[in-house]
Amino acid sequence: MTFQPKIVGFLCNWCSYTGADLAGTSRIHYAPNVRIIRVMCSARIDPTFVLKALHDGADGVLICGCHPGDCHYSEGNYKMMRRYPLLKSLLADYGIEQERVRLEWVSASEGQRFADIVNDMTERVRALGPSPVKAALEADLAER
């Protein structure tokens, strides 16, 4: 039975969600492993969401926003741009493999690119195997 990664995707409404939508209307076949949560802007993504997703059992988290300069709210995506390297360093210290959390800029017209990103990420996370976090924390509570 092949491992099917569960990847949570936070997509901003204006560019990246529309781009994902375009992949669908274009009938592009791509991996079904990303569960999309639409937010208005990538700035809305509190780092807590990413950590909570991992805590709750996600094998990976994909964050998508508008290309720098194209944010619907002018500068929201820069906030995510600044948060991201700090988040990566935090994840590294907590022993989470770097490829489980990924930030990509996807425009409304980049349906194929979105599909390619999802395919690529799915395979990388599949190669890593299931995230150990949820099972490990449950085991911590159940056994000593």
Binding site: D46, P47, L51, H55, L86, L90, D93, Y94, G95, S131
Partner: protein, 327 residues
Amino acid sequence: MADDKLQIAIYWGAACGGCDVSILDTDEFILCIDAAADILLWPIATDGKYKDIEALADGGLDVAIMSGAVRNSENERMAHLLRQKSKVFVAYGSCAYMGGIPSLANLVPREEIIARAYLNNASLEPGNTTVPRLRTSLNGYDLELPEFYARVYKLDQVVDVDYYVPGCPPQPGQAQAAITALVQALTGQAEAPPKGSVVGASERALCDDCKRTKAEEKKVKRFYRPWQIMQDPEACLMEQGILCAGSATRSGCGVRCPDSGIPCRGCYGPAPGVVDQGAKLLSAVASIIDSKDADEIDEILLTLPDFTSFANRYSVAASPLQRSHRR
């Protein structure tokens, strides 16, 4: 034991004793506690024994106040015992509330802790291969030690906690306020705070109470470690590029650290409304970086090493990931 006196226990898990000192530092107030309550167990100060607690009926203790985290099997045993025997169980201090400084150990494997202490450091007996063991049989004697767990737990990860008193340690004023609130609730003089409340501290963030001047906007082109510059004693530390956890930290401590030229490190725990102190500090620090270029942002962040131990200095066990998951 007089029937009208509250029955209380004060105990410590993986602790440093600072929380017990903070209760004793209430000075004359401790005599008021002594007048109102029988302290059945308080190893630092009284002669109560584990058996006295074991002999009680469930709920026979009005309040159990426990500081320190759960690092080993003895800490856990006592947490369960005190919870079972008490009506109200209070997690006192940062270690009990969030895991505290000892939970920084959650970022390293247990084996490395043992190796560093007993097998591999500059002052060990040359050639030592002995490490502490749960059971040692020596000359026919059986000696036991509690089990050193693989990680640190905050108290509510092992028992049901009613209230939290934050701080490392809670300031004597806070200790007095918290104990007073509990005593008043238990004796019917005042309504009990909602279960799960943080008691004895403020409902504000540290920045609200900090006297340093704050500009309209905070923007920095680089960060400074506290020793790298001579700081302006009047201006906000973050505006000078010096990391300070005040924006996501609960107030009530008196802001003694920033007042003395030392940045806050978050010992009072998350500000009201904040779920994860580390993530909030991450957003706060990110928000003041004055750049829109990914490469430049990386350059700026080189001036800020080891962000994790700033974000979760006292709260690794309380963070969503709780510990390292490196395999």
